[in-house]
Amino acid sequence: YFLLNFNPFDNLLCILLGISFTVWFTLLLVFIIVPAIFGVSFGIRQLYMKTLLKIFEWATHRIERGAKDNNHLLYKPYSNAIIAKEPTSLEEEIKEIRRSGSNRDLDHASEFEMSDIFYFCRQGVESIMDDEVTKRFSAEELESWNLLTRSNYNFQHISLRLTVLWGLGVVIRYGFLLPLRVTLAFTGVGLLVVLTSIIGFLPNGSENKPKNGGICVANHTSPIDVIILASDGCYAMVGQIHGGLMGVIQKSMVKACPHIWFERSEVKDRHLVAKRLSDHVEDKTKLPILIFPEGTCINNTSVMMFKKGSFEIGSTVYPVAIKYDPRFGDAFWNSSQFGMVNYLLRMMSSWAIVCSVWYLPPMTREEGEDAVQFANRVKAAIARQGGLVDLLWDGGLKRGKVKDTFKEEQQKLYSKMLVGTQEDRSRS
């Protein structure tokens, strides 16, 4: 009698589970995988994005209202500085200091004033309070809140309604989007078609897509850059051989078409690397090489110095600019802050990763231009297209120290002022 009672329940449960799995997979297939393979779009993404943006605006509005009501100070991390820096040059500033303090005629102004030190002192303290480079390496800060805990700085102002909305967001993201993407990921990796958390993707300038025998360079923000570019064209990848899952993927990729994978020890030998790269580009049947010359992930508000290695090879360079829309989810991978698994989790539970890709016209090294200048020219073009700031700093600064040449620049500027004055004096 007891057994009879349980059986129907079991059956019901099994049936329900069975049905939901089937529905799940069908939906997956019909709405995502098949259209992706055939390049058809249903317009679901656009609608999704529009709705999300409206919700974010509302959420930010509520927070601001909440703050005003309580008369609290809203911490606005996006007003991205503690201090206002005036962009004047060394010469201007020092002249101004001297002008205000000098008892004498400017014609006979002395070469050095005790007050000159104020300029350097202030510059120094300003940089202690706030400097550009450290900012580039922390995730970009947003003005509006996108309902992700990780980008919220004003917890106390969240009203009940907002909390409910946030809770709903968590349920949707972790209960629906995350499993969806995880399933996709497993299917995808199995088929070597990786379309995990990428929902929006708008390419432009497709006529400039890299051709065989060329080198494609792009700015680097996250491992997703590779996926995005690879889904829109075939490239030969360059990189270190990794162990584990990455290693397996790398090996299987090599079976499909030739890539350039290095042993860790070989990476240090620049000549060997350069030789392998040039051999590859000379062979016109091989795919264009994909390289990220910044050498590390940057937070997508700027482009850092390009390492000149890839620009010495002398083939055509196809620049690509990649810009992520930070409103939906931050794709920046700060490898010194969290590892790959953590990063993937964050990616997959974001609302969406939206990015724009621009294929720029190909460039070649001109007569009388050395590798560094060429690299800078390409970098400027990429920065311009993507609306990113073109910085001179080295991506290696995330971990390293600045070179002495920069200090010398400052000294040169200052001494020009002083020594220059001396020459005038001897003439008069």
């Binding site: 609290h72 100070l73 911490y75 991390p77 007003s79 500085a81 503690i82 201090i83 206002a84 200091i97 205000s100 303090g101 008892n103 002395s110 070469e111 050095f112 004033e113 005790m114 007050s115 000159d116 030190i117 104020f118 300029y119 350097f120 002192c121 202030r122 510059q123 120094g124 303290v125 300003e126 940089s127 202690i128 309070m129 706030d130 400097d131 550009e132 480079v133 450290t134 922390s138 700085y153 004003n154 917890f155 106390q156 102002h157 600064l397 120290k401 600045v402 920069f406 200090k407 010398e408 620049e409 400052q410 000294q411 040169k412 200052y414 001494s415 020009k416 002083l418 020594v419 001396q422």
Partner: protein, 194 residues
Amino acid sequence: MGSTNSTLSKIPNVEELMQETGFTPAHIVRLYDRFEALDKEKTGHLRPQDFGAINRLAMNPIGDRIIGAFFSPGQETVDFHSFVRILAHFRPADKKRPKDPSMPEPVNSRTSKLKFAFQLYDQDKDGKISRAELLQVLRSMLEMQVTEEQLESIADRTIQEADLDKDDAISFEEFRKSLEKVNIDHKMSIRFLR
């Protein structure tokens, strides 16, 4: 990073700190975030190396001296309070503050700023800038761009002009006098946003 109030509650004696330095709660929070960003190993203190990691500071000719200004003699670390107190020198002067001789000199007054600049020159803290100390500063600021003779002649000229009691060194009073017309408040102040 957290909301204003939750961060403030993490800092001990924050009321006293604000009184002393004149920073607003918003400023303190930002400085605290900055302090934490510099304190990579999360020890709660900064060491000279942490400052050295700031690239723009490393390329400043007198960067080392500025870093030195944060550390009292014999101290190897600086905590958040001291950090803020030193930075408070660079707050613009409060024009409304009445001149009350019984109260201690505010940390961002003209005199305090001058004292800060003075100690950048006077490394051995004997109250005077000797010829040798002046030469050292000039060397840092100019290094290989000028000859030793040029450095010496600059030092000589400067001492000649500023040294009123002819002891071949510049005391704080002489320093102050030579800069009496300079708008110190403007040149040694940093404008904090909101």
